[in-house]
């Protein structure tokens, strides 16, 4: 407020230093009005004094003139002995001219005439009387004047006319308007003083506010530092209140701004946290003190711990592997540390899984963190192992018929010249092995299609009765060869399915083929069909070697071969049932198995059908 201000403002400031808060204009107006009023009062007073002098002189002259005239008249009337007229004249004159007293006195003191007739002591005028004639006398007091006129009655004697008249009464009455004017002017001046006294106090506050506003206009001074002394009055208090309100508004605005900023930041943090949680990989941020700064939901699941317990906890409480801890420590302390990848087996079972921990250092200004990324690679491990196993088993399955083919080709080559019958047997075996190889390759292809997800259905109308007749025909010879009773228990009417004919046929052939393979000579196989609850069930029941309860689900795994010694001699790829179940499931159905070791098994193909199909 007091630096680098223009000259005018400095003048204002100088004035305010002398008379802080006064308005110069108001002071000038006040002084002018006060001078005017004072001048008016003085003029009126002077006028009153002057007028009073004039009026007094006029009054004296007037009374003197009355006295002179009355003296002349009295001498004449007394000479003519006209006493009654004299007395009336005296009384009327006194009354008319507001004389206090008017009387004619003889030298002996007898009152010949008086304004008050009751005061008359001499009724008749004597013929003559003694005494000397008095001299003319004038006497003035503050409120009255007295005149004595000598009267000479020729031939009789002398007498005295005494007149007394008041001065003030008449003067004050004459000067009343001026007096009233002066009183009003005095009153106005007094009021002016009172108003000035009051307004000066008020104007001080207004003047101070004006100065502040000018200062703010000139150099943008901080209003908050310009509070007024509350003693300056209501305006100062109001001004301070305004300043306070403004400060409060600014404060609220600043708080609101801060709140909004914090809210925005909080929203951004929440969004970041939500994004952090949406990542399926586990993420853990570890500071230099080896404390967990942040952990996402996936990491909590992988570490099988609650998030609240992980936050701010030592990382060693969540990760036990010493290699991991060393890698995290290195990354947290050294931003130039190399990325570390460690795969950790979680528990002994496959479900616990294999987790891959990747530790990278993060530098954020002076802060160093280690970011630990956790990925579940169990399925990759299992898939790789399954592929390796599949390839090994597939190679084995292919090698067995190929070995037979190679051996019998050699045998046929040796025997063909000597023994045509033996050569023919060899060729038959080669043919059978080639067919087996063909089936195995087809099954492996199907299995690989299942693995690759390209095992697709080509749906068409499938007449189930025709399909089952074909199934019966295809396996009758084999059943007859093993003396197995191969029976079909079918309802009179079977539905027409919307399905992939070849694949349904493949599934049923696999079920019946398995039943024939694992049913001993003289056994029984029954294929039955049933439609109920919008489901078609085709059951293949055999009296074969059966499956133990521990193996009942495993037979649906690829390349699984029963541990039952009776099944060891049975040739098979271990792909028939898995493929059949996959076919059923692709159609929205399933294959279920019920079995009792040594008594037989029932595999049921279940397919959903529509109401129309039923």
């Amino acid at each position: 407020m007091h630096t680098d201000r223009p000259v005018i403002s400095k003048l204002f400031a100088a004035k305010s230093d002398m008379l802080r808060g006064d308005s110069l204009f108001a002071v000038i107006i006040f002084v002018v009005v006060a001078l005017f009023l004072f001048n008016l009062v003085a003029s009126i007073w002077n006028n009153i004094v002057f007028q009073k002098g004039i009026e007094q002189k006029a009054s004296v002259q007037h009374t003197k003139a009355i006295g002179s005239v009355l003296a002349k008249a009295a001498e004449s009337l007394m000479s003519a002995n006209e006493l009654s007229l004299l007395r009336r004249t005296v009384a009327e004159t006194a009354l008319e001219h507001h004389l206090r007293s008017c009387r004619i006195i003889l030298p002996d003191g007898a009152i010949l005439a008086d304004a008050d007739p009751a005061s008359i002591t001499l009724i008749n005028l004597p013929a003559s009387w003694e005494g000397t004639a008095p001299e003319y006398v004038e006497e003035f007091s503050r409120r009255s004047m007295h005149f004595r006129y000598p009267l000479t009655v020729p031939g009789r004697g002398s007498a005295t006319l005494k007149i007394a008249a008041g001065i003030d009464d008449r003067l004050e009455a004459a000067l009343a308007p001026q007096t009233a004017q002066m009183a009003i002017a005095c009153l106005a001046l007094a009021s002016m003083l009172l108003v000035h006294r009051h307004s000066r106090f008020r104007l001080k506050a207004l003047g101070a506010i004006q100065e502040i506003l000018l200062a703010v206009r000139d150099d943008g001074a901080d209003i908050s530092s310009l509070e007024l002394d509350p003693k300056l009055g209501l305006e100062a208090v109001a001004w301070n209140k305004l300043l306070g309100a403004r400060q409060n508004t600014q404060m609220r605005s600043a708080i609101q701004h801060v709140k909004e900023s914090v809210h925005e930041k909080s929203e951004a943090t929440e969004a970041l946290g939500a994004a952090f949680d949406a990542v399926s990989s586990g993420l853990i941020l570890v500071n230099r003190k080896m404390e967990i700064e942040h952990v996402n939901g996936a990491a909590a699941v992988f570490l099988q711990a609650g998030r609240p317990s992980l936050l701010r906890a030592q990382v060693s409480t969540a990760i036990k592997d010493p290699r991991m801890l060393e890698a995290v420590r290195a990354a947290a302390e050294n931003p130039a540390a190399k990325r570390a990848v460690i795969e950790v087996e979680q528990g002994p079972t496959v479900t616990a899984g294999v987790l891959r921990f990747t530790v990278v250092p993060i530098r954020q200004g002076p802060l160093h963190f280690a970011l630990v990324t956790i990925e579940d690679i169990t399925q990759q491990r299992v898939a790789t192992a399954a592929m390796n196993s599949f390839l090994a088993k597939a190679a084995h399955e292919l090698r067995t018929p190929l070995t037979n083919i190679r051996l019998f080709v050699e045998e046929a080559l040796e025997q063909c010249a000597r023994d045509a019958a033996a050569a023919s047997r060899c060729l038959n075996v080669i043919n059978e092995e080639a067919q087996r190889l063909d089936r195995t390759v087809a099954e492996i292809l199907s299995a690989s299609q299942i693995e690759a997800g390209s095992f697709e259905l080509k749906r068409d109308d499938v007449h189930l009765d025709t399909l089952l007749q074909q199934l019966k025909a295809d396996h009758e010879a084999q059943a007859k060869e093993k003396r197995i009773a191969y029976e079909f228990d079918l309802p009179p009417k079977l539905p027409i399915l919307q399905a992939d004919r070849d694949k349904i046929s493949l599934a049923l052939h696999n079920l019946v083929g398995n039943a024939l393979k694992y049913t001993l000579d003289g056994g029984r196989i029954v294929v039955s069909a049933q439609v109920e609850n919008r489901r078609l069930s085709v059951a293949v029941t055999d009296t074969g070697i059966g499956i133990g309860p521990e193996e009942i689900e495993k037979v649906f795994e690829k390349f699984y071969r029963s541990k039952n010694p009776l099944a060891a001699s049975v040739k098979g790829s271990g792909l028939g049932l898995p493929i059949a179940r996959e076919v059923a499931r692709l159609h929205g159905g399933d294959i279920t198995a019920e079995s009792e070791l040594g008594k037989g098994s029932t595999f049921t193909l279940i397919l959903p059908i529509t109401e129309e199909q039923a």
Binding site: V301, D376, E553, G589
Partner: protein, 111 residues
């Protein structure tokens, strides 16, 4: 309701049979919570044998999906029939689920 399970690699395929409705919904949800916990979320629901779901069934599926989303995972459904898909679509819950044509595709999504 019958619940069948089968491991395909490290992934557990859970196959409920019958309507997911009423008290069965709670039973299924309890079982699923155990499967999800034991398998670190590597679970697929094979819905091929689910003819329909009621509101409780949908609620249990949505609850499971919400729980999984906290760890950045989704509830994987496969082979759901048209009715089930339409119900999920109409109730606006479809963004909460990952749907696959068959179990193999769902299992491969864990690779």
């Amino acid at each position: 309701m019958e619940i069948q399970t089968q491991y395909r690699g490290a992934v557990l395929v859970v196959r409920p049979s019958g309507p997911l409705a009423g008290a069965d919904a709670e039973t299924f949800k309890t079982a699923m919570e155990g499967f999800l916990r034991e398998n670190l979320g590597r679970v697929v629901i094979d819905a091929s044998a689910l003819p329909y779901v009621d509101s409780k069934g949908l609620e249990s599926l949505a609850d499971m999906a919400a729980e999984l989303s906290l760890s950045g995972k989704g509830l994987k459904l496969c082979a759901a029939n048209d009715t089930l898909r339409q119900v999920i679509e109409l109730t606006g819950l479809s963004p909460q689920f990952e749907h696959f044509e068959d179990a193999n595709s769902a299992v491969r999504s864990f690779l």
